[in-house]
Subunit: 389 residues, 2 copies
Amino acid sequence: MSLVLSSKTKTNDGRMSMQLPGQLNPSPRLLLGPGPSNVHPRVLASMSLPLLGHLDPQFLQIMNETQELLRATFRTSNRLTFPVSGTGSAGMETCVVNLIEPGDRMVVCVNGVFGQRMTDVARRAGAAVTATERPWGEVFELEPIREVLAKVRPKVLGIIHAETSTGAWQPLERLGQLCREFDTLFLVDTVTSLSGVPVETDKWGIDAIYSGTQKCLSCPPGLSPVSFSPRAVEVINKRKTSVQSWYLDMAMVQRYWNEERFYHHTAPISMIYALREALCIVHEEGLETRWARHSCNHQDLKAGLAKLGFKYAAAEGHQLPTLNAVRIPPGIDDAAVRRRLLADFGIEIGGGLGDFKGKAWRIGLMGYNSRPDVVLVLLAALQECLNRT
Amino acid sequence: MSLVLSSKTKTNDGRMSMQLPGQLNPSPRLLLGPGPSNVHPRVLASMSLPLLGHLDPQFLQIMNETQELLRATFRTSNRLTFPVSGTGSAGMETCVVNLIEPGDRMVVCVNGVFGQRMTDVARRAGAAVTATERPWGEVFELEPIREVLAKVRPKVLGIIHAETSTGAWQPLERLGQLCREFDTLFLVDTVTSLSGVPVETDKWGIDAIYSGTQKCLSCPPGLSPVSFSPRAVEVINKRKTSVQSWYLDMAMVQRYWNEERFYHHTAPISMIYALREALCIVHEEGLETRWARHSCNHQDLKAGLAKLGFKYAAAEGHQLPTLNAVRIPPGIDDAAVRRRLLADFGIEIGGGLGDFKGKAWRIGLMGYNSRPDVVLVLLAALQECLNRT
């Protein structure tokens, strides 16, 4: 890795001339933080394929295939299913700004950073937001949500399936039915869950769902898969106001992703190659096998972490296999251990976020990285670093 | 290229099983449309490098280097200079939604699709928009703009440097000074000009500028370099309302790109590798040399197209070297010729957009593709296709 800082110098004729930085040469990293996780080698290779035009018949075919693969991954038959040209947070914003019109009521379940973020995004879209809260690390039960829906009668209920700041795994099975009782749209964040734990968009009655590519899909960050139910599409089509974001306006973007192929913005070609390859890998393995693999490696990691004295931040029974958030025991220097893990062994784990800053570590075992050898090397390296610091 | 459509079948136990699409195998393409253009081989290779974490010290260094390279490319010392995590249109939206608060007046110069788009983006941000228009293919003179600024006294003037729908090349040299007379911020779209023709952010008094990676930078689509002057940053810092987009809010995003390194959203790592490599290539060649190369190949193409009977859509003296928009002579079948160019020779050129649909072709000679051999093969292939159809 070149650490030469670029700098400008004046040449004789007064033009700027630059000292250019050295060759890109990233050190090997085992990315076990909250994401990005390591990218599957086949996906990395697909990024180097030469470009097609964004309206080339071959590329349109790749778009169709990617959508079909995404539908299978989300377990949905939703027509409006495609990757937004931005990272996971752009997916969150896409769902919110398309469903919400100024003044609409929205309930957001907040038990960590990403629930908080959703309230912020919704307020900026003009929603009257009711945040219903649980302590960090806990999840939401059905009845309290029923009460808030009965009281607020919101247009949209938003919830985080896998709260990346706490490692809490929210049950969703019965919420879709509940939302229907109150004529509420059901919006779910699956950034850190999709393809790592079961996600059943249609069976669970989810109306709008988004994810990210850089977690369990083992693809680089840069796209956000989204899907909208026919019920959500109907609401979008009946809007009285324009979506505040031109870039994320489904009414326009869907005309490029459907048969019209109407130009909206230039699709990020290479990232879509990568996503298609990543999704092929997911379905070669099979979703159920993949979920079982994530669960199995999580159990092994959990047993190993327990021996080292670590306790999970999330409640028992609600701990994500994909994101293991553990409390840092007293006497351990958070930053020093993480620095050493990175410097001595090239292993990245995540620090705490928000309320958990300095209090928790977040250890991702996602997609390609959910492997027995990864669990072993992490536990060994962690023990070594704890001994040394 | 596999054209096998994926399809779902039920297995014995009722689970969905998929017929997966074949291996990604895009055909060779010479991308001479309005973008994406072909990616430099070194940039394609950089996309396959393994990921670093988005807070890894090595990645932070890469971010610094990318920013420094971008400043040199925009010819600016603006501190707030970085790539937005979205395509060029996300850059347009970023500039508009950060500068505009609801009710602010904005003047947009409209002489093609991208000026129209800017009015749409601005209205969605709550701006009181005055569109000042010129016929498609023409550019704006100074005096009429002065008149509209004097009359409207807008907060922001928006203009397209290189109108990708018409190939018109807008002079900007004196507009920054004019904007200052009216205390107006000067916003410029350089999506199809940056590194292909001179762009002088500081010298021309530009306050907010954006571009795309997939044009003259010869990088895949997916990022939008932006830069804000200190004057623009001051306006952003004094906002009374939140930026309507969480994802594009400079107040937050800049805290990740400056020394704070405060987490906002996960940066698209691989795309930033690609952009850094592309910018290194730009500065190895040197901006002036690159501009001269674009000009030279454009002249050769223009001479060749004239022999084939094509006239430019943009006025003489205002024709972009990077995007050659020509009127389709009577009797030529637009779609048939373009289909044949693609099928027989793997060459993509762009059809007309908006008012020019069916009436113009758009031929890009951008970055890596601005080469004498490319000009020769395009002219030969075009002649062949015109003879055959």
